[in-house]
Every structure is written in C-alpha cells, then in structure tokens.
Symmetry: C2
C-alpha cells in the first residue's frame, strides 16, 4: 500500500500539530495557547498551520475529541462475573481508574477538561454524561448484583455508586494537581486501595 504510506507522510505535520497543541492546551488552556506558540514548537510558520486546520478552534475541537475516548470500561460480562466476588469488583474498577489517573495521555486530557470545564459547555455536558453518569451506571449494576447475592447491605445502588465514584474523582483531582507541579504523589499512592478497603468495610454484610 504505497498510497497509505504517502498519506501518512502527508499527514505527519497534521499529527504533530495535534500532539503539540494538546500538550500546550493542557498546560496553558485554550486562550493561553497561541497559534504562534503551536507553530513555533511544530517548527513551521503560523500561516502553515492553516493548511491543516482552518482555525485554532478547529484544532481544539480535534484535541477535545480524545478527552472522553479513554477505553475505560468493564465489559458487561466482566461486571456480572466480578460483581459476584464483591470486593474484587470494586478493586478492579478502582485500579482502572488509578491507571487512567497516572497514564500520561489521559492525564493530559484530564487537565484540559479541568482547565476548560467552566469555559466550555460541551465539555461540561460530556463530563456529566461520560465521567459521571456512565460510571454510575456501571457501578450500579455491580452493586445491584451484590445486593441480590446478599454480599452487601441493601440501599439505593445509585447512591452507593455516587459515594464510591466521588472519592475516586477527588483522588484523581488531587493527584493531577500534585503532578502538575511535579510534586510527589507518594502520600496518595495507595489512596485508591485505601478507598476500596474502607468502602468495602462500609457496605459488606
């Protein structure tokens, strides 16, 4: 496929623009990132940028697409299966969350989300649906199964999910802030695990 190869070479700059832009956006935000700065880091002139994207906003939208694309999901089967084991389910979920928190690419996207959350309505909506609702839904299914099997005390699965998720988010926020300043996250390194332990003791029968 020589054609494919050619295409890849042709889009090399485009990819580079995207990569560098995402880093700058995650550091300085949308307004704090100028097309000039992007171009200079890519190694081309500002005007050349416009051969690939028609505006700065188009670049941002392209970058923003990736914010919620993290392949974070327990498969349906996996939920049912591990929910039977109770704590294992919580542990798996939290460890996935921890992985995302420390993963460089996801960290970058999470920063952009935080920086632009109040400046961008679409991001807020996606935050609510993808970060919150989606996870509450997954967790609820797990907790529901656990209740049916008398592994945990009864209650509203949605409330329990909310409680479990909120702490995960808070840990992630704190880790992200510390890492933003290149500070040690030692004090939080086992916080995810501690959360699972505490939470399981809270709900198990």
């Amino acid at each position: 496929m020589p054609e494919n190869t050619t295409i890849h070479k042709r889009t090399g700059t485009k990819q580079k623009i995207l990569k560098i832009s995402s880093t700058l956006f995650s550091e300085y935000g949308y307004k704090g990132t100028s097309v000039r700065k992007i171009a200079s880091q890519v190694g081309i002139r500002e005007s050349a940028i416009y051969n690939h994207y028609k505006s700065k906003e188009e670049i941002f939208l392209e970058v923003a697409k990736d914010i919620f694309s993290s392949p974070f999901s327990l498969e349906q089967d996996e939920i049912r299966e591990s929910a039977m084991k109770g704590k294992t389910f919580l542990h798996k979920f939290a460890m996935q969350y921890k992985l995302l928190t420390f993963d460089k690419r996801n960290e970058k996207m999470f920063r952009i989300l935080l920086i632009e959350l109040l400046q961008n309505k679409v991001l807020r909506e996606q935050f609510m649906s993808d970060f919150h609702d989606k996870n509450v839904k997954i967790l609820s299914e797990g907790f529901f199964i656990m209740m049916q099997n008398s592994l945990i005390r009864s209650g509203d699965p949605m409330i329990i999910s909310y409680e479990f998720l909120s702490t995960l988010f808070y840990i992630r926020l704190q880790v992200t802030l510390l890492r933003f300043d290149s500070l040690s996250t030692n004090s939080l390194s086992t916080q995810f695990e501690k959360h699972v332990d505490f939470f399981w003791e809270s709900i198990k029968i």
Copy 2:
C-alpha cells in the same frame, strides 16, 4: 466620623470595580476578562481603572483574597461537643458545606477557583491547604473523639475524613456546574443529606 464617610465615598468606584471584576472573572476567567469589559460595566473608561489599581493582575489578586476567606469553621468547642453526638457532627459539617455551595458569593469564588486552578500555583496551594488539609483536620478531630467513645468503628481518622470530605467536594462541583448553566439542581438537592446518612451507616457501630 465624617472622615470615615468621606473615605467610603472615595472608594465607591474601587469597590464597584472589585465587585464587577469578581463576577466577570468567575464567568470568563482571568484571560477572558478584559480591563475594557470591566471598565465598561463599571461605567468609566479603561484608563480610569488605573487610578484605583495599577494592573489587571492587582485586581485579580484582590479578588482572589476572598476565595478562601469563607467563615467556614466549627469552633473547637463545637467540635468536641457535637462529636459526642456522632451523626450530628457529620450533619452539621455537611450542612455548613451545603450552605457554602449554594451561597451566591461563595459560589462565585468557587468558580474562580475552578477556572484558575491549573493556571495559578498559589490557588492550587491554597486549595490543598484551605479546602483540603484544614477540613481533614477538623473532621479528624471529630472522628477521633467518636472512636474514643465507641460511636464508630475504629480506623484511621484521616482516611475516614478523606472519604467524607471527597464526596462533599464532588457534590459541590456538580452543583456548581449545573448552576453555571442555570440548570436545575433538584436531583442533587438532598445529596448532602443522603451522603451523611450513607456515611453514618458506614461507620457507626
């Protein structure tokens, strides 16, 4: 005190600048708020602003001073006293938190905090110390007393505090986002109370 009165009249514009600036900052962030916009809403020319503040940054710093000034604290005595009653302590704390969440002035400041959190190192540090450490400390004292009185199961008071606080923060975040878009917060209106209920069931003996 005619002198005092005079001073107040003289600082009328200055106060107006501060108030309008804080609203604009809480809506559009630091970069998104121009001195032009501030001046126009105050009803004077840009240049006149500089009679009161030497730069836009100075205005922001003045505004930012108020972010962490919320008179949020249970008095030492109150902690000891209500901690003896267990759940009452949690309830009081959560209701104070809820009050701040829905208070217009504190909401404005919380927005600024969110918008500028990743752009301003001082804010990050204050967030960690004032929003997190300070509250964890207050809560820990309460939980410690409860443990001593065998009201709750034993464990690390810091961990329990972390768990309790993180959910409060998350609710506040969600409420703030919804209100930013003038959306209903009905679904979250009793979330603070539900949190207290759930949490107390989780730790009580």
